[in-house]
């Protein structure tokens, strides 16, 4: 199963749009009034955060499809896993870029901001999910377990989000910098388009990674399946050796 023309086009498009994004983000767009050059983090941070939700959304939907008897197929489990793996890396990057950004604008790496906290919980939830995926067992049993775990984590997200949001609003606001200015810098013109371009470029990158990771998982799966037919033949041969049949 070599990568097809579509995948290669997808990869090329991803690289090209990322290059364009780099030029737009670093050269063409102006500084922000408040954040100066730190605003340029937005061009990767916002797309990464979007990607994070897309990745876990794909995992959740694929898990539902796996558990739905009508659509049950192993490919949904593989897709859910591939997407979650990329999602965890992306979430890690969201936290890292967010921290660096926070350091340059707020002066601290971490603040118990509602979004940051929710993202951190999401990160740990899906690290757990990936840890569970690595545990062995019967393939179908494993897939079902994975899907249930993904959903159990997914239904928690709105509750986590709500509770963290209340927690932060009932307490003091971040005193270091006015939250409004930080969260919503004046985005206009080329900056606006660059953020959109960033989202597009990272979505292309995500799709390309997902296609390839999924294809790899599929190949691994097929390898195991081909082993199965041989295993049945070998198992039958065991009997012939014992009973002396030809």
């Amino acid at each position: 199963m070599r990568s097809g023309i579509g995948t290669r086009l997808l990869g090329t498009a991803a690289v090209a749009s990322l290059a364009l994004l780099a030029v737009m983000a670093l050269v063409i767009t102006p500084q922000d009034v408040n954040q100066l050059d730190a605003v340029r983090f937005l061009y990767i941070h916002v797309p990464l955060a979007t990607l994070m939700y897309v990745a876990f959304g794909v995992t959740a939907v694929a898990s539902v499809l796996y558990l739905w008897p009508r659509y049950r197929a192993r490919k949904w489990d593989l897709l859910a896993g591939a997407s979650a793996e990329i999602g965890v890396v992306v979430t890690g990057l969201v936290l890292v870029t967010g921290s660096i950004w926070g350091r340059t604008t707020w002066g601290v790496y971490w603040t118990w901001d509602a979004r940051l906290t929710t993202t951190a919980v999401l990160f740990v939830l899906f690290l757990g999910y990936l840890a569970l995926r690595r545990v062995g067992g019967d393939i179908d049993a494993r897939a079902k377990r994975n899907a249930i775990a993904a959903l159990a984590a997914a239904i928690d997200m709105p509750i986590v989000h709500k509770s963290v949001e209340w927690w932060r609003t009932l307490h003091q606001k971040s005193s270091i910098l006015d939250e409004e200015t930080f969260m919503h810098p004046h985005i206009h013109g080329s900056m606006y388009w660059t953020v959109l371009l960033g989202i597009g470029a990272f979505l292309l990158l995500f799709s390309w990674l997902l296609v390839n990771r999924y294809r790899l998982a599929k190949l691994e799966d097929r390898l195991e399946d081909e082993g199965l037919e041989r295993a049945i033949a070998e198992r039958r041969a065991e009997a012939d050796a014992l009973t002396g049949a030809p």
Binding site: L67, G128, A131, K144, R145, S163
Partner: protein, 223 residues
């Protein structure tokens, strides 16, 4: 189904009654945690008293982990799992029974921990209604989510290390909400507590429903 759940919960509680693991090991552990917190946080400067609600719920969370591990260790042997599947008990009833037994144990531990907090941390109790409702809903939520994840990790070799990693982030909102509500109750501003109680209620209902639906496939999953 309710009858089956009672049979299951009765069996689990009888195991605890006969083995006394909850009373002889988990309860002393809970008290120990309270004492350790006092070592870590200076009791003279009032930090301990101010953090009492949070410490209480962290201690409950640790005890819940132990209780859940224990509840699934007794079913861990191959034969016990087979027997349960052959028994004809409705999986939803098995879930409700196990969660009910865990909730009962947790409630007992909360009484012990609560007494400990009052005595050791020198906090007086206000807003008893809010406090009791908070404890009840948080306990149901913890046991429901805990039973789901306990079953999820039950058949696995690495269950002791995997369960905390899976369960603790999921119950993070329970810790948050229960702590805020208890703080409101202790501080006498009960009005601030009720929104959190609603959140606890939503959590409990969601994971109860999830467990009832998901327990069949979970029980089947390892063959």
């Amino acid at each position: 189904m309710l009858r089956d759940a009672v049979v299951m919960a009765g069996k689990d509680l009888r195991i605890e009654l006969r083995s006394r693991v909850a009373t002889n090991q988990v309860a002393p552990f809970a008290v120990l945690v309270l004492i350790l917190f006092a070592f870590a946080l200076d009791p003279d400067r009032g930090v301990l008293a101010r953090a009492a609600a949070g410490l209480f719920w962290v201690a409950v969370l640790f005890c819940a982990l132990l209780a859940i591990q224990r509840a699934f260790t007794v079913e861990a042997s191959d034969g016990a799992r087979d027997n349960l599947r052959l028994s004809g008990l409705d999986p939803a009833a098995i879930f409700l029974g196990k969660a009910g037994a865990i909730a009962a144990e947790l409630a007992l531990l909360e009484v012990i921990l609560g007494t400990g907090v009052v005595l050791l941390y020198n906090r007086s109790l206000h807003g008893p209604v809010l406090l009791v409702v908070t404890c009840a809903l948080a306990t149901i939520g913890l046991s429901a989510a805990g039973t789901v994840y306990g079953a999820l990790a039950a058949g696995l070799r690495v269950r002791e290390t995997l369960l905390p990693l899976l369960l603790l982030p999921v119950v993070a909102p329970v810790l948050l909400a229960a702590t805020r509500a208890s703080e409101a109750a202790l501080g006498g501003t009960t009005g601030d507590g009720w929104p959190w109680v609603r959140l606890l209620g939503v959590f409990a209902v969601i994971y109860m429903a999830f467990g009832v639906v998901a327990f069949g496939p979970l029980l089947e999953e390892s063959s």
